[in-house]
Symmetry: C2
DNA sequence: CCGATGGTAGACAGATCTGTCTGGTATTGT
DNA sequence: ACAATACCAGACAGATCTGTCTACCATCGG
């Protein structure tokens, strides 16, 4: 006799995993307040009690969702290139490509912040931590490049990144134009 | 005998006006989905029937809210300075100041877009129109400055603007640092 | 074999959301 | 003077939201 459906699902991934996957897709694509817990539960094929066992409240799920986004971005952001300048360029090339890809809907953190105004809210803290991490990455690369104004230049590059992400969501830019714009913008900022 | 309260309110502004004011404050400060029609009605001191007379649905109010934001920004964005370059700088100086002011909560359009994913939604169209207007302003100034790459440079400046606005909301930057950063960034982009 | 663990299904409560409707009042143009 | 217009107060319907609770099932370590 074959395994039950439940057993199969257990092997393929825990309920918590499925909930996080569903939340990632739905929250990012449609917004957080627009997606109810019931929708997440249905998409994840999970019982309500199980959901509230793993995430005591919806806000906990939102926090976990953003933390996972942060972890993922940190894992993917691996500068390539010989010099620090090339490495910075590689990071922004990836951003340019990403923001023109299908299904791009802006920055998960910026979008979430729009729905969580209170800077002291846990969700906002995850966002702030992620932004500090990214600023640190750029600052370290700039320092390695021997720049005395690494902090300010890093801030400028973060501004560039945020602007590119908004543009990718709202202006439907072409891939090729974006590639050129990114390289020119980074070059000018680093000039 | 003195005028009734109703008469006073009539003189001070129509119900529609009060609704738009309340919506502007609440939507911007707390987000759109987070603010119910009942809250807007209470804040505006307006009857529900009156509200739905002026705005057949909440989405209509959201559209009017953003349209008003757009009109206001267009009215305020008056470049000052002798040369086109100075005028561009003046526009960005104002942005830098604005994004460090009290109560700043990011760009009303970017924030609204986070809650309205569908690009064909009327709300998104208002946003797109506003962005095209701003890009046009910059493009015209750059053209007047005799630049051949006005369109692309304008796109880069829009990116800069969006990034500055995100920064103002999420990074709580100091006024002075922002002033310096803005001038340096604009200078480098126009270099 | 059996208890602990983690999962399923779904009813339920209470709040809140959008939108409608009734009925009354005040102002205004003619 | 009077009809039209705009507004007010608030009940109501129906949907949806978060979160709780009961009751049952399957797997696994000891």
């Amino acid at each position: 006799m074959s395994m039950t459906d439940t057993a199969v699902r257990r092997r393929q991934g825990s309920a918590r995993r499925r909930v996080l996957d569903a939340a990632g897709t739905l929250f990012y694509a449609e917004g957080i307040h627009a997606v109810g817990v019931d929708r997440v539960i249905a998409e994840a094929a999970v019982a309500k009690a199980t959901f509230y066992h793993h995430f005591p409240s919806k806000d906990d799920l939102v926090g976990a969702y953003l933390q996972e986004q942060s972890d993922q971005v940190r894992g993917v952001t691996l500068p390539t290139g010989d010099t620090p300048e090339e490495q910075i360029l590689s990071v922004f090339d990836a951003i340019g490509e990403y923001t023109c890809g299908p299904g791009f809907r802006g920055c998960a953190f910026v979008n979430a912040a729009a729905e969580y105004p209170d800077p002291r809210h846990p969700v906002r803290r995850v966002i702030a931590a992620h932004r500090e991490w990214f600023h640190g990455v750029l600052r370290d690369l700039l320092t390695a490049a021997g720049r005395p104004d690494a902090v300010r230049t890093a801030a400028m590059l973060v501004v560039l990144r945020d602007g590119l992400v908004v543009r990718g969501d709202l202006d439907h830019p072409a891939d090729s134009e974006t590639r050129a714009l990114v390289r020119e913008a980074v070059t000018r900022v680093l000039a």
